[in-house]
Amino acid sequence: MFFNSYEFIFEFLPAACAVYFLLAKAPRVGTWWLVAASLFFYSFHRAHSLWLLPASISFNYALSLLLVRQRRKAYLVLGIVANLLVLAVFKYKVALGGALGSGQTWWSALSGLTFPLGISFYTFSQISYLVDTYRGQDSPSSLGDYALFVTFFPHLLSGPILRHREMIPQFDSVRRRRLIPRYLARGSALIIIGLVKKVLIADPLAPLVAKAFDSTGALDAGTAWLGAAAYTFQLYNDFSGYCDIAVGVAYLLNLRIPENFRAPYRSTSIQEFWRRWHISLSNWLRDYVYYSLPGMRSKWKIFPYLNAVITMLVCGLWHGLGWTFVVWGLFHGIALATCAYWRRLRRHMPDVLGWALTFAFVSLSWVIFRAKDLPASLRVYRAMFSAFPWSPLTAWWNTSGLALLRHPVDAWSPEADLGRLALLVAALAVAVPSYSYVLARTMKPSVWTACLGATLLTICVLRFSSASYFLYAFF
């Protein structure tokens, strides 16, 4: 089930919340209710991949109990290897199939298995729990709480990646089983903001992106630039929209899950970008990969830079086993290392220049992230930089959202111009000096905000019939 669906908004969410609060006096039953609801949510479209989730939970829970009893590194290694193996089998099977020989019988059977949605997110959440337990930074919870930590439906499909030690105390708190109007309002506001981002901005951008990246004919500079810009904002609004809804839904249940985005396109350096973009993944990589790599205390000063590159390579591979993700990760790793070196030199860069460079780098790197393979990304880059620099600027002016300002209103066609309008709105939204979580937190309980919220919610719901999947559900 997806957040941008009628079933979720009108049936599942009200039922899940209502029963949860009705069971306030029986917290254990309430917990198991949320686990059952989450499994139903998960299996709504792909029931055949449901078995993997309870199996993964049982294995990791049992292993964590063993780790508590005997803190053996072998158990931890077993847990990490098993989790990564499952992830590799399901997520990378297409790429691995090519490498290992897809003609083999065992491989044919394996490739018949469907991709379990959200596997990267719940696998990483569980690995972090095993590592924290091994390090003595986390303590075990009941099976119900652990199952809820993994399956909690707001984060299950596209994150954010949760930490066990942040969630369990919340599940145990009786105070959180009461309906808190302020949280209800804040959660509703975040859900509406998330839906607006997804349904009204990201989805209308999809045709512009497809035109640049999925077409097979000749690609002109304008279409390529437009596609690259559209994807920059589509990915952000799609993914951050999902996370806003996830945080909003958690608020409705009086639970807090981590904020995953803080206006990343306003970053003035690539380091800042990664502190604002997919924060839960960045933190995870920092805590469990970057700091775990050797050489951090070495006298060789190159290690921190090298480790940044390796960490970003892992980040790329987390998204998929393909050369595009490897190169994308490498680009970001080199950019992070360069940025760190620049800071070490204590050179100053004006914020405007820093922002422009960061935004340009991030946008250009999304091209390789989105393209289906390296030649496809080269095709887009080549089109973008044909007759550089003037023709792209002219093409951009002719095809971008700004073109809307120049042709008469009665010549607008909704299908063609909706994407451009969404692009214009998304670009202007970067300049808004706030972001969704802050907006929801600082919102006043006025009739006008309620009117605005109801109107936006209605418009979003009316667009559900043409809404699409969330992009990150397949990572």
């Binding site: 309002a185 309980p445 905000t449 309620a450 109801a454 109107t455 209605t458 009316l462 667009r463």
Partner: protein
């Protein structure tokens, strides 16, 4: 004190949000329900319904539920090109046409289920198209990208949100009331799915783009096997045939042109289709309320390419003959005449040459 005031403020905000959302969504749902552009709950109010050939799958369930009829034509495009008034003249009963271009057996069964629920329905004439048994996913038809609206075909109210709360439904309602007719749209409820004028019934037109030595190159149809065909038919149709008491059901095998049979011969598919046909005939003994009308061995029709717009689709005169035969009980395929009729068709295929047929068709207007 201040905390309580704050709490009350947020409670009021939540109620406002809920009330206004209900008001706005309720209004849009009410508008769609009142106009009901696809006639799911009642005949359309405020204007004549529009029939858009690109949106047949949206219009068909409403017609099947709320139109007044005794005879229903359903299935693929093979039976869509005939006015209802012609069927009424030939068969003597008010008629509705529920055909969908490229319908799968699943879509056909969903439609038949609605026909069987209709209190006035007495006769259902359904196409028996081999391609509808391919069992593949429901693909976009006629170049229009859509998701099959399964929610319009079932009886649940809980899955009707895409109809009541959708911008597409509001636009369809608005256009039905005020907008001009769009391409592919007609107000003619007597002949809603008439083939477009671009489909010319001429021999030279029928063989356009056809390579007689590899006919399937122009279509890219996949080969079928008997097991998947019978299981697709059984899974979709047997439950309906089992429960049906009152409606007489005729499955009609449409008269594809001889070039289609040459295509099947080139792909080694003729034995598969004959075996399926035989299996279907045997089922008539199991379910007494249906029969099979077969025009596929009609040499006078299938060898005359001037009756076709392409190698599959014939003109409305042939459709009329086919429907009349269904109503009169002519041309029924039975166990006793099965072998003779299939042999006659096979002989026809063996005694003609596709290269010659195409050559002649190209030379003859």
């Amino acid at each position: 004190m201040n905390r309580n005031k704050n709490r009350r403020g947020w409670i009021r905000w939540c109620w406002w949000l809920l009330a206004l959302s209900c008001l706005l969504m309720g209004s849009t749902a009410a508008f769609t329900l009142v106009v009901d552009p696809y006639q799911i709950y009642h005949p359309m109010l405020g204007a004549r319904p529009r029939f858009n050939r690109y949106l047949q799958r949206f219009a068909v369930p409403g017609l099947a539920r709320t139109a007044k009829y005794e005879i229903a034509l359903a299935g693929t495009s093979m039976l869509q090109n005939i006015p209802n008034s012609a069927v009424e003249r030939l068969c003597g009963g008010k008629t509705v046409n529920l055909c969908m271009a490229g319908a799968s057996i699943h879509e056909e069964a969903l439609t038949l289920r609605l026909v069987l629920q209709h209190p006035g329905a007495k006769t259902a004439i359904l196409t028996m198209d081999y391609n509808s048994l391919s069992g593949g996913a429901i693909e976009p038809v006629l170049g229009v990208d859509f998701v099959f609206p399964a929610y319009l075909y079932d009886d649940s109210i809980l899955d009707k949100f895409p109809y009541f709360l959708s911008l597409d439904s509001i636009l369809a309602s608005y256009r039905a009331l005020r907008g001009p007719l769009r391409e592919g749209e007609t107000l003619d409820s007597d002949w809603p799915w008439k083939f477009p004028d671009t489909m010319k019934f001429e021999a030279s037109h029928a063989v356009q783009g056809i390579d007689p030595r590899s006919i399937n190159r122009a279509f890219g149809m996949s080969n079928l096997n008997l097991e998947s065909m019978t299981s697709a038919f059984a899974a979709n149709m047997f439950p309906l045939l089992n429960g049906n008491k009152s409606v007489k059901i005729h499955f009609v095998f449409p008269p594809y042109s001889i070039l289609v049979w040459h295509d099947y011969a080139q792909r080694g598919q003729i034995p598969v289709y004959f075996a399926f046909k035989k299996w279907l005939v045997e089922q008539t003994e199991r379910f007494r309320n249906y029969d099979i009308v077969d025009y596929q061995d009609r040499a006078d029709i299938i060898t005359n390419m001037s009756l076709y717009a392409d190698i599959y689709h014939f003109n409305e005169r042939i459709t009329e003959q086919l429907v009349r035969s269904a109503c009169m009980g002519d041309a029924v395929l039975t166990r006793s005449n099965f072998d003779a009729r299939t042999q006659s068709l096979l002989h026809l295929v063996q005694s003609t040459d596709p290269v010659q047929i195409v050559k002649e068709a190209r030379g003859t207007p």
